[in-house]
């Protein structure tokens, strides 16, 4: 007997629903969604028919992770509650810090390497001196902490990366660091090299010295020594000190803790951040370049502190002719850059005989200084002016230089040291700003190319000008690092 068609369709539909339910149940079981309640819900969902309106198909509780302070509802008016929550969080943080401290454990990241390092790989010449007897030129390098010796006539070819020095003195044993002044003993060739404000020690090397060797002689100097000149007749050595506004005079062969023989310091001297130093033994005069930052000292104040191994030391306090260190509070001023001229044997609070200063002089951080006694001229390495200024030794007041060496052909860039080689009639400049030392005829003027040039690096490589980077700051707006020297 045949089934009626309508009954057959109904039986087929029921069969199909059963298959679907079985499949759903099987899926749920294999995926872990196998609780009876869930299966019932799935079945109900499978049997639900469209109702023409939204229907609740399922409901799942939120996971426990979502409960907690982050999502805890607080009423809009609950400022105190928010504050309490913040304080509670702070307390929790502090408790966490306490617990880590209690573990007495420091996370050691001593092996962490920087992702970037700013460093100039080439020597930066800061001062220069010629040894005419041995036909050599000596330079201090304030970047890599070296004394470099070259043939006097060396001339770096344009295509060469650099000129190799014939001798290098460098290394921690030498105590060479940020050096800014040089003198060569004309007889022995001994090299007198002035450390500035990171090592309060003058180091003297024989001309045989090379490598990482201790100095043949050392002398404790006041803090911030810069320029040097030597009176061979009197066997005296003159040093400027920036921090205490002095010219301090030692015996030329002084060593160790030997005291100075004379001190020029005082509020009448007009010394204001003194740098370069030159002497005229024929006319018994002393010349000093000053950048202009000035303060007064307390008369009878405490002796200037020196630093030994980085630690402040008052050991020099009892020495004769040691600078006073105590500043008079609130006495600071900015004076114009200047050259101050004194009697060669001036001491104490002696005012200058003459002062060359003013806008006509063009001085801008006047640094290295040399005197040509025969010609009656003063040569100034004009750091921020990228020039060498030449004045009459008798100049006074606001006077223009009689000659200026300046311009792109000169290759002068932040010259900080200079030297007059009278024997060969040449003028040397140590350029801190472009890895070069440049040589000119004495008397050169205007935009004149050098006769020769010694380079420590490629011309196209920038000189970073980093010398004793101490503080740093980060300019977040420009994404730049600020590095004062």
């Amino acid at each position: 007997m045949l089934m009626p068609k309508r009954g057959l369709r109904m039986r087929s539909g029921l069969w199909l629903i059963g298959v679907v339910l079985g499949l759903v149940g099987g899926w749920l079981m294999t995926t872990g969604e196998s609780s009876p309640r869930q299966l019932v819900r799935a079945s109900e969902a499978a049997l639900r028919r469209p109702a023409g309106a939204p229907q609740l198909l399922a409901r799942e509780p939120l996971p426990a992770l979502m409960d907690g302070p982050m999502c805890e509802w607080t009423p809009a008016s609950a400022e105190e509650t928010l504050l309490a929550a913040l304080q509670e969080r702070q307390a929790a943080r502090e408790a966490s810090l306490e617990s880590s401290r209690a573990l007495d454990r420091t996370v050691d990241r001593s092996d962490l390497r920087p992702v970037r390092a700013i460093k100039d790989p080439y020597a930066a010449y800061s001062s220069v001196a010629v040894d005419p007897k041995n036909n050599e030129v000596v330079m201090t390098d304030e970047n890599l902490f070296q004394i470099l010796v070259y043939d006097r006539t060396a001339n770096t070819p344009p295509t060469a990366k650099m000129t190799e020095p014939k001798r290098i003195i460098s290394g921690e044993n030498t105590k060479i660091e940020f050096q800014c002044g040089l003198y060569i003993d004309p007889e022995s060739g001994d090299i007198y090299a002035v450390n500035n404000d990171t090592v309060d020690t003058l180091v003297i090397f024989s001309r045989q010295a090379k490598g990482n060797v201790p100095a043949d002689r050392e002398l404790r100097t006041p803090h911030g020594t810069f320029g040097i000149a030597v009176d061979e007749d009197a066997q005296e050595m003159f040093l400027t000190t920036q921090h205490d506004n002095t010219v301090t005079v030692f015996k030329k062969l002084a060593k160790g803790e030997e005291a100075p023989v004379r001190l020029l310091q005082g509020n009448q001297t007009r010394l204001a951040d003194p740098h370069g130093l030159a002497i005229d033994t024929k006319n018994q005069l002393m010349f000093v370049t000053n950048h202009g930052s000035y303060h007064q000292k307390v008369v009878g104040g405490q002796a200037s502190i020196t630093y030994v191994g980085g630690l402040a030391s008052t050991a020099a306090a009892g020495k004769a002719n040691w600078p006073i260190g105590t500043q008079e509070p609130g006495s600071g001023q900015y004076l114009s850059p200047s050259i101050t001229i004194y009697p060669l044997k001036a001491s104490g609070d002696t005012p200058p005989l003459r002062v060359i200063t003013g806008p006509k002089t063009q001085m801008n951080w006047p640094t290295g200084l040399a005197a040509d006694v025969e010609r009656g001229e003063l040569y100034v390495a004009n750091d921020m002016g990228d020039s060498i200024l030449v004045f009459d030794v008798t100049a006074n007041g606001d006077v223009a230089p009689k000659r200026v060496l300046k311009g792109p052909k000169t290759m002068l860039k932040n010259p900080t040291g200079l030297w007059l080689d009278h024997q060969n009639g040449e003028l040397w400049a140590a350029n801190f700003g472009n890895h070069t030392a440049t040589v000119y005829k004495i008397g050169a003027s205007g935009d004149t190319a050098p006769l020769r040039m010694i380079r420590s690096g490629p011309l196209e490589e920038p000189a970073l000008g980093i010398g004793n980077p101490h503080p740093v700051a980060y300019d977040s707006k420009r994404e730049e690092i600020l590095v004062p020297n």
């Binding site: 810090l97 880590s100 401290r101 007495d104 454990r105 420091t106 996370v107 050691d108 990241r109 001593s110 962490l112 390497r113 920087p114 992702v115 970037r116 390092a117 700013i118 460093k119 890599l144 902490f145 921690e172 105590k175 660091e177 090592v199 921090h243 204001a272 951040d273 930052s293 000035y294 303060h295 030994v308 980085g310 630690l311 105590t326 500043q327 008079e328 509070p329 609130g330 006495s331 600071g332 900015y334 921020m384 980093i466 010398g467 004793n468 980077p469 101490h470 503080p471 740093v472 700051a473 980060y474 300019d475 977040s476 707006k477 420009r478 690092i481 600020l482 590095v483 004062p484 020297n485």
Partner: protein, 237 residues
């Protein structure tokens, strides 16, 4: 020059000038021969050999530690001329050593360091402490490893981290040098949370530090390397 602080709110930076006893503020981006926009200098300032400083650009103050006088002068930010300090932190109870100072603007604290009556320590004060006020907390001692300060310190205010370099025992350089991070909540002879770049790391004579929070980096100078190093250190941020 032993200090520089960039103020990102006002786009300025400030440096102390010890030879002329002045605080110089330049506009951010200043270059060449550009003059400062403000100078604090003069008899009323009490400045004598100002060597370091901190700038608080939230409360608009400049803090100048004077180590020889064992005091900290506080000036208003944004003014120039012969201005007197608005606060002076000084006195035997402070036990202060005033080589360097930094401000935590979130926790409202002043962190000063230097060799004081009880040795070299990090001393934490309320930011507005004045006169002869005791520190809230001191960090120092053998376990703290805080010794022979390298240079200016920094504070990362959101986390209260104090970042300072320790130069080690050498005269010119030391393998024991490192950069350490302590917390403003630390008290006593507690070790740093992190030591970075040493001991026996890259540092030879580290000096100042600066924070680049956006890039989760700490920048430090090193005198003996004559260079400036950037460390990526997200752990501190």
């Amino acid at each position: 020059m032993h200090s520089i602080v960039y103020d990102e709110i006002n786009d300025e930076y400030t440096v102390p000038q010890p030879f002329a006893q002045a605080l110089l503020t330049f506009r951010g981006g200043a270059s060449g021969e550009e003059a400062p926009i403000r100078i604090i200098q003069g008899p009323h300032t009490e400045l004598a050999e100002p060597d370091r400083l901190a700038v608080d650009n939230i409360n608009n103050e400049i803090y100048v530690p004077l180590d020889l006088d064992k005091k900290i002068l506080v000036f208003p930010r944004g003014v120039g001329g012969d201005v007197a300090p608005i606060r002076v932190l000084k006195g035997p109870d402070t036990t202060i050593g005033a080589e360097a100072v930094a401000i935590d603007t979130v926790h409202n604290l002043l962190v000063a360091t230097g060799v004081g009556d009880d040795g070299l320590k990090l001393r934490i004060f309320n930011r507005t402490a004045s006169g002869n006020t005791k520190p809230l907390r001191l960090i120092g001692g053998k376990n703290s490893r805080f010794g022979r300060l390298g240079g200016p310190i920094a504070v990362y205010s959101p986390k209260g981290w104090i970042i300072a370099t320790v130069r080690g025992p050498g005269a010119l350089a030391s393998e024991e040098a490192f950069m350490g991070i302590w917390s403003v909540m630390d008290d006593g002879d507690v070790p740093p949370r992190w030591t970075i770049g040493g001991p026996k790391g890259v540092f030879r004579m580290p000096r100042g530090v600066a924070i680049d929070a956006k890039n989760k980096s700490i920048i430090a100078s090193d005198k003996r390397l004559n260079s400036v190093l950037t460390f990526y250190f997200p752990e501190a941020f």
